[in-house]
Symmetry: C2
Subunit: 377 residues, 2 copies
């Protein structure tokens, strides 16, 4: 959907005409009260669930969570996925042409924040004729957007489901983002962010960025369980090795093979400028900042009910960070449900099947549906 | 000191004529029984303690630990530091000329292991006329060398002091090493490891490698305490910022400035091929491997007494890894002292002053000195 703009941004810049790619699932009810907005994290998109016709491998990124009869049940809710501004899956981003200059944005795409994305999402809801969300939901960076919704548009969101998220990044989180960004920016093929016109892609940098990302998404435990110190041939199909090759550059351990594969794959489809923008949006998110770091004061304006979920082995956005949010909400006497799921999978757990996790989300949305039905009755 | 070689290596290759750079501190006693070998980790050298004449900033890397009256007291012990093969601080390494070809080794320097280093160190002791070590000591990768001494030369080492170390790397440890190596190897200035002849240095890759390293050396807690989310100008001396600049490439947070500085500094002095070699030696170390993964069986041949030290916030080589070693040693009824120091500094703690840590090491060496005196009496 096109929007005329200008969209004012937190940086002081603004974005002219822009597009938002979105998908919807299920049916909006008569009083337009059953909409659930699902916000995506770093490398996902508006394609939340299901597959595209004739493309069996095109499953949405949260297909285990969203669909008919699933925890977020599209038989009951009208679910909306939207690709964020600056991303590379359909909404206006760095690879598009700046209408003001006629040139591809590249590194000149304005810096966007979580708050800017939420503003753009609100504009999409306006265009869809939806005043109030039954819920806004997201994991990781998507959870930050859900949190921000409750602060920016408190009267437009009844429930917020915030999974594996945090009130801001720690120094270590920022550090990992920064290393990834430096890997991209210092790749000679980055060309100051204007690589499109050179016909190249900073794949080296993207590979490194993705490898770092993957390490932080997994727990030490699950890495040991999945890969351990197993040796592996770099040659597809060859049997796992049993002796060291004594090489510094060849693949020696399975974990290396896995990371290289993930890095290569990512560098084929993800935009380098988008990586910079989205990690920066993560860095900047900090709703307590304008309240002198006081998270309780920051959440004084929230009026939604909350479900927060964290995972014990998530060292990227640890349970401790979710508990900070729970405390700030309880300080404000908000309604909060909190589940700390004992799962081995690290940050990745928010995308994976886990009976207790899925059960908690399902129960929460059943209550939301019941409240909607009660309100309608 | 030069050695004629060939030194047979675990890879099956061998190293021809080679040099070992070393330093000694204190005085070897008459019966040559008070020697302590100190092994270094990734980016350190044989220069353990003190300063070079006229170079006030040339303090050794373990100067707080080693010297007259210090925990490892050079008034009592004859302390030896040796730069490992493949390193870049004086011993034969990738930047030297291969006597067999007349060309700089570069990426053709043979892969060396912890066991190979220990063999070379034993050769140095032979040349110095030292049969038995009062102790071998090291932190991190240096601790692995100390462990390996007790397995390769059990009758030549009376005590092993193993700080912040591990019986092998986890998948996550290997993963971080691999990302760092890929950053170096894919830097166009690496030239397949033969960058010397091109007159360039793969600084981009070295910077990324060092930034990743630094994150893993520190704890999340100490990073938050030192840097938190403080903003900072990239310009030296300018006051810390108070507002976001909204930039993806400029320094925004203090932690970014710190990491960039560390990366830049490292890329000026450290050799890229050495980085590959030393991280690979870390990956390969796994004394339980030839015993089907059974660490207890691996340590059956050790006869030294042990002091192991770990630090609570070290997530690189966590206390759990030291406890595995303690268990294997106790299973073999070895004498083991173990101290788990509650310190906030992560893996870096092994290089820092901590009253309890220094006290534990001091006490241990006092006992070693007393035993030497008793044996001599």
């Amino acid at each position: 959907m096109s929007f005329p703009g200008p969209l004012p941004l937190r940086s002081g810049a603004s974005l002219g005409d822009y597009m938002l790619a979105y998908e919807t699932y299920g049916t909006l009810n008569a009083d337009r009260s059953n909409a659930v907005l699902v916000c995506h994290a770093l490398n996902a998109s508006h394609h939340l669930a299901g597959v595209y016709a004739g493309q069996p491998k095109s499953e949405g990124w949260w297909d285990n969570m969203i669909g008919p009869g699933k925890p977020l049940d599209t038989d009951r809710f009208f679910v909306i996925g939207v690709n964020n501004l600056g991303s590379c899956f359909g909404s206006t981003g760095p690879m598009h042409t700046d209408p003001a200059t006629g040139r591809v944005y590249g590194a000149d795409f304005p810096v966007v924040t979580v708050e800017d994305w939420v503003d753009a999402q609100a504009g999409l809801l306006d265009a869809l004729g939806i005043r109030t969300l039954a819920a806004v939901m997201g994991g990781s960076l998507g959870g930050m957007q859900a949190l921000s919704w409750t602060l920016q548009y408190p009267d437009r969101v009844r429930n917020a489901v915030v999974v594996a998220s945090a009130p801001n990044l720690t120094a270590e989180n920022i550090a990992f983002n920064e290393v990834a960004r430096r890997a991209i920016v210092t790749d000679p093929d980055f060309h100051g962010g204007h690589f499109y016109e050179h016909g190249v892609i900073p794949k080296r940098g993207l590979r490194i960025a993705r490898m770092i990302g993957h390490i932080t998404y997994l727990s030490d435990d699950v890495m040991n369980a999945k890969f351990g110190r197993e040796l592996r041939s770099a040659v597809e199909g060859e049997l796992a090795g049993t002796t060291y090759r004594y090489s510094t550059q060849e693949v020696e351990f399975q974990i290396e093979s896995y990371l290289r594969y993930q890095g290569d794959k990512f560098s084929e489809y993800f935009d380098a400028n988008t990586y910079l923008l989205i990690t920066r949006a993560l860095d900047y998110f900090d709703p307590a900042r304008e309240h002198g770091g006081d998270l309780t004061r920051a959440f004084a304006r929230a009026s939604a009910k909350f479900l927060l979920v964290s995972f014990t082995t998530d060292w990227r956005f640890s349970p401790q960070r979710s508990r900070e949010l729970v405390k700030a909400l309880l300080d404000n006497r908000r309604s909060v449900s909190y589940a700390e799921i004992d799962a081995p999978h690290g940050h990745d757990a928010f995308l994976l099947d886990d009976v207790r996790y899925m059960g908690v989300v399902r129960s929460y949305f059943e209550r939301v549906a019941a409240e909607l039905a009660g309100a309608a009755a």
